[in-house]
Symmetry: C2
Subunit: 288 residues, 2 copies
């Protein structure tokens, strides 16, 4: 009799150095993070960032290691599926305070054909512990209803949950002001916000922030455009190591035009610090 | 007797296919766009984007050409100087509606050493004429004083202009609300805005938009931090082909912390359309 192990984000996004291929890492993309047709884009980003962290975080040639993603830009090329994948990293430059790298996440689609690229990444890594402490932030934390008054994604209809296991994998609580779309009454404001944590006992870290920037339903849902809004490009800046506890996540869009929208995300930690910011360019859902 | 030819952005950012090296382009970085120690980051971005446009804009293998940058992410690696440079492009993927590419801009520093990378880029290209016409933008054009009431960068002190020829090369007019920094009285708001055009007769296009997202002084000037704020990463989204005439550019920052700031840029065209958005992560100037 086999038992299903409890969910574990670090195991789900683990990478292992490929035998005989320096700079390459094997991973197994987790079906638990499936959403619609593919694997959640934030999970792909966090997994790829983990491989770059292994590569750039190791000191080499008298240069210090830089384990933390400061800025990561990802271009999504094709839909990733649950199962084996390879991440090929490239060290672009090693400096004293920063290192730069590139990475490609690939999967085999046909046994006899070459692997297909899912994601390409460019990134700058550093050490968040080295950063100066001054904070002059003008941004304000989002106004959110208390966690217990927010709506959990496990409350989604069963057919929704069956297609998107991620809805029950993440502990996500949407603010009541942003769930009108679910009952056919979107607010008309391009804002989506809520609380997020992993259900297992695991505190947030920079990798989880990279996952969290794409964790909410698209802000376009609240504009009445309920449908898959595939990410073309997403850049995330990790600005500080997050404090333990719940994260607050806000997605918003201001420019819906030409078949695309920009979507900005902010992540605030339990100490009221703006710990990550991201912007993505997403294709609007096709309207029937 | 030699005469100096009139300024011409297209000549300054021209690229020529390198002999015998497919995908590589030669360029000559223009001293006219020097600002402080290096060449303006937006000019480097536009020049690199022009090489990718030459590469991805050419139809190949039954795939259409995609001449327009839709999203470009740039990581700045070292300070570029006036003079020869090479841009090596890589075609990542050619699709029906989008193509993806990467590029590296390099310069020779020492005659006997290998070239040094200045900039690495990942990008998605398409055709802006193919895009749907619907616009649901919630963003509003910036409030700017009329051009003739704004302050031209040619009014900068002579020692400033001598070090940064770009100040007289660009026709930039800052809103009076954003020039307090120049007289030691910054507003304390992290906003910089103004009008921009090229002094020669040349209408804006997607390449000029990529240049314009980094054309203003840093928003940190108006927070009292007057100094060079080098860009670590900049991603620009081109959202529409701009109408002829002046561009309005706004830079703003909300999160100044840990030695870095994010800086968002919006560019509005003369038809009141938000034609480009960008976000960069910049290192804060060192405070004395």
């Amino acid at each position: 009799m086999t038992t299903t192990p409890p969910p574990d984000f670090d195991r789900e996004t683990a990478v292992h150095a490929s035998a005989g291929e320096p700079g390459s890492y094997d991973t197994d993309l987790p079906g638990a993070w499936k959403v619609g047709q593919g694997i959640n884009g934030g999970v792909l980003l966090a997994t790829t960032a983990r491989a770059l962290s292994a590569e750039l975080g190791t000191p080499r040639d008298d240069r210090p290691g830089h384990p933390d993603p400061l800025s990561v830009s990802a271009y999504y090329l094709s839909t990733a599926t649950a199962g084996p994948a390879v991440i090929r990293t490239e060290t672009v430059r090693r400096g004293n305070s920063l290192s730069h790298g590139g990475a490609e996440l690939l999967q085999q689609e046909e046994p006899d054909a070459g692997p297909v690229a899912r994601l390409r990444v460019l990134a700058a890594y550093g050490d968040l512990d080295d950063q100066a402490g001054d904070v002059l932030t003008a941004a304000k934390p989002p106004e959110l209803a208390p966690v217990e008054q927010c709506i959990g994604s496990h409350a989604a209809p069963p057919e929704f949950r069956a297609e998107s296991p991620m809805l029950t994998r993440a502990d996500l609580r949407l603010d009541p002001s942003c769930v009108g779309w679910a009952v056919g009454a979107p607010s008309g404001r391009g804002v989506m916000k809520g609380w997020f944590r992993l259900p297992e006992t695991r505190d947030p870290d920079p990798l989880l922030l990279l996952m969290a920037v794409d964790i909410l339903p698209p802000a376009s849902f609240e504009l009445g455009m309920v449908g898959w809004a595939p990410t073309l490009e997403l850049t995330a800046h990790v600005r500080a190591r997050p404090a333990p506890g719940w994260l607050r996540v806000v997605h918003s869009t201001r420019n819906v035009a030409g078949g695309y929208m920009e979507e900005d995300a902010e992540i605030w930690d339990s100490a009221d610090r703006l710990v990550a910011q991201s912007r993505q360019l997403a294709r609007l859902p096709r309207q029937s």
